[in-house]
Amino acid sequence: MSKGRYGIHGGQYISETLMNELIALEESYEHYKNDPDFQAELNQLLNEYAGRPSLLYYAEKMTKDLGGAKIYLKREDLNHTGSHKINNVLGQALLAKKRGKTRLIAETGAGQHGVATATAAALLGMECEIFMGKEDTDRQALNVYRMELLGAKVHPVTSGTQTLKDAVNETMREWTNRVNDTHYCLGSVMGPHPFPMIVRDFQSVISREARAQILEAEGKLPAAVAACVGGGSNAMGMFYNFIPDEGVELIGCEAAGKGVDTARTAATIATGTLGIFHGMKSYFCQDEYGQIAPVYSISAGLDYPGIGPEHAYLHDTGRAKYVPVTDDEAVDAFEYLARTEGIICAIESAHAVAHVMKIAKDYKPDQSIIICLSGRGDKDVAAIARYRGVEIHD
């Protein structure tokens, strides 16, 4: 069995052209991971530039309203660039720079990862090109301009379903074309090894902080942690340091779109089957011949037909549980959190909020649940207005 396996999942199903680069990437990552200077430099960027540690906020009004568990929000939305994506991007960009790369390329769905990558490229003086599905450039036009302001070139991807999956295809093609000076700054815990490991490690800062913060606040571990899952990077970051804590439930909230019994869904664990795609063996939404399914979610960031291999493994072993959340439920939660706590979160994160709204009352008041609020919702305001039939003129 090859490297980077999580049970039967993972691996390196990628073209021969990229293999030596992946091997070199893994070797340098293993080196810098243990290099105190690299870690110090990264921590300085995370703390002084990105604004870490992020807050663990006790949502008191929400707790009282829902009844049951105390609800805490891990405020990744307060990071610079507005989401958890910056944690991974600063790590990878710094690593790429140390490796002598001068150019970053990345895929983006909602635009959060693209904005974070463009930001890191600007900061570290690197070239940056972002690939984004044409449909996503339309529904997230503001983020496209944001990336351009940061000096990045944005390529609208017109192949396939014109969403996140196709953006990944196109970024992989570009990397095959020009690998020598270019690092593919992959945005989630997916793709070929070593990406699922590297991205998880850089995102694990979320649960490292949250675990210490909840012990400080409550004197004990939470009953559960919940996070939304597309490829699964904020969820993996939120879960990772709680995996050994067997009493802590790990809950991943997938985008069910119009519902898991419809074709308009992106819930991979609920509706997918085992496959090999985008460099990894994992679960994918696909048809009876292994053609990747066109998936759908209101959330561009969760609109992906697969899930990272470590999540597939956590599902297989039962350590984590994955639940579907529909567009309707996510939009309700988006509005609820805004009204109740004065926080406009990303529509992605609202999937996790929606699920916790359903289950909070099943827990006792001396138990706590942490929701990873992976991003802020400014980017979604126009889409939510459209969803509610409200016309907004910019």
């Binding site: 090859s2 490297k3 691996g11 390196q12 199903y13 990628i14 073209s15 021969e16 052209t17 990229l18 293999m19 030596n20 680069e21 192949s159 396939g160 999956k165 196709d166 295809n169 992989m172 093609r173 095959t176 074309n177 020009r178 690998v179 089957t273 085992l274 496959g275 090999i276 795609f277 985008h278 460099g279 994918f284 696909q286 009876e288 011949y289 292994g290 053609q291 990747i292």
Partner: protein, 273 residues
């Protein structure tokens, strides 16, 4: 008969693909098309026409929704084919019709997922039955090949090894375990016509020949007879995909005469080396 359990890995595979390079000058012309583009009847007709024009091996692309190693021309062919309802079973049916009239060496080219999802054993049993002698899977590198190579070998099918301009230190390991033929990728990037191929392919082929006598064919970017001749001169053959698919894209179901003319000119260039 060998009574020890040597496993599929050491099994000697012999099939029609071994005949491909047994030409007067030892050089082969290999043509690619996407099955079902624009429809199954045309694919059958095109393959037989390319055989008549002198192609030594036809690579049949099983369409995939997300062909990450392909440039725009073959991506579009995949979309047209799937849009017209082509399936893996439909491709096997195309091959069955060809086998009624021809024993031309055939190989499949597709991605890991359609084969994995069909079931490796079931897939390669059909290949064996229809005498499809080889498979090329661009998203299956050396490190991951065991899971496919064993069931393929058990059904007498070559899993073709690919070597790229970036392979360098990997060439020895890949070449030493190769069989059937080696697919040498001419350039960085995805499939598609290129005006110029800059990689030092002679040096790559030389490194390969130090470790194996498996024939090497060069693909990616080749479209003109001149390029095909150059590639065949430094290796054992030229593989052409996008230029053929472009003819099919332009002429649709009426592409046969143009395909015949094109393949004949390419085969002549390769034979003249």
């Amino acid at each position: 008969m060998n009574t020890t359990d040597s496993g599929a890995k050491n099994k000697v595979i012999t099939n029609l693909v071994d005949n491909v390079f047994r030409t007067p000058n030892g050089k082969a012309f290999i043509g690619f098309l996407t099955a079902g583009d624009p429809d199954a009847d045309s694919t059958v007709k095109f393959i037989l026409e390319m055989e008549r024009a002198g192609a030594d091996l036809i690579e049949i692309g099983i369409p995939f929704s997300d062909p990450t190693a392909e440039g725009v021309v073959i991506q579009d062919a995949n979309i047209r084919s799937l849009g017209n309802g082509m399936t893996t079973d439909g491709v096997f049916e195309i091959v069955r019709r060809i086998r009624e009239v021809s024993r031309i060496p055939l190989a499949f080219m597709t991605y890991s997922n359609p084969v994995f999802h069909y079931g490796y054993d079931r897939f390669f049993a059909k290949c064996e039955e229809l005498e499809v002698g080889a498979i090329i899977i661009p998203d299956l590198p050396y490190e991951e090949k065991a899971e496919v190579e064993e069931p393929a070998a058990a059904h007498n099918v070559h899993l073709i090894s690919m070597i790229a301009p970036t392979s360098e230190t990997r060439i020895q390991a890949i070449a030493s375990e190769s069989h059937g033929f080696i697919y040498v990728v001419s350039s960085m990037g995805v499939t598609g016509v290129r005006s110029e191929i800059k990689t030092d392919l002679a040096a790559i082929v030389e490194s390969i020949r130090k470790v194996t006598d498996t024939p090497c064919a060069i693909g990616f970017g080749i479209s003109t007879p001149e390029q095909a001749g150059k590639m065949a001169a430094v290796s054992d053959g030229a593989i052409v995909g996008s230029a053929i698919v472009r003819i099919i894209e332009k002429y649709g179901a009426d592409a046969a005469p143009e395909l015949y003319r094109y393949v004949k000119s390419m085969k002549e260039a390769v034979s003249a080396v």
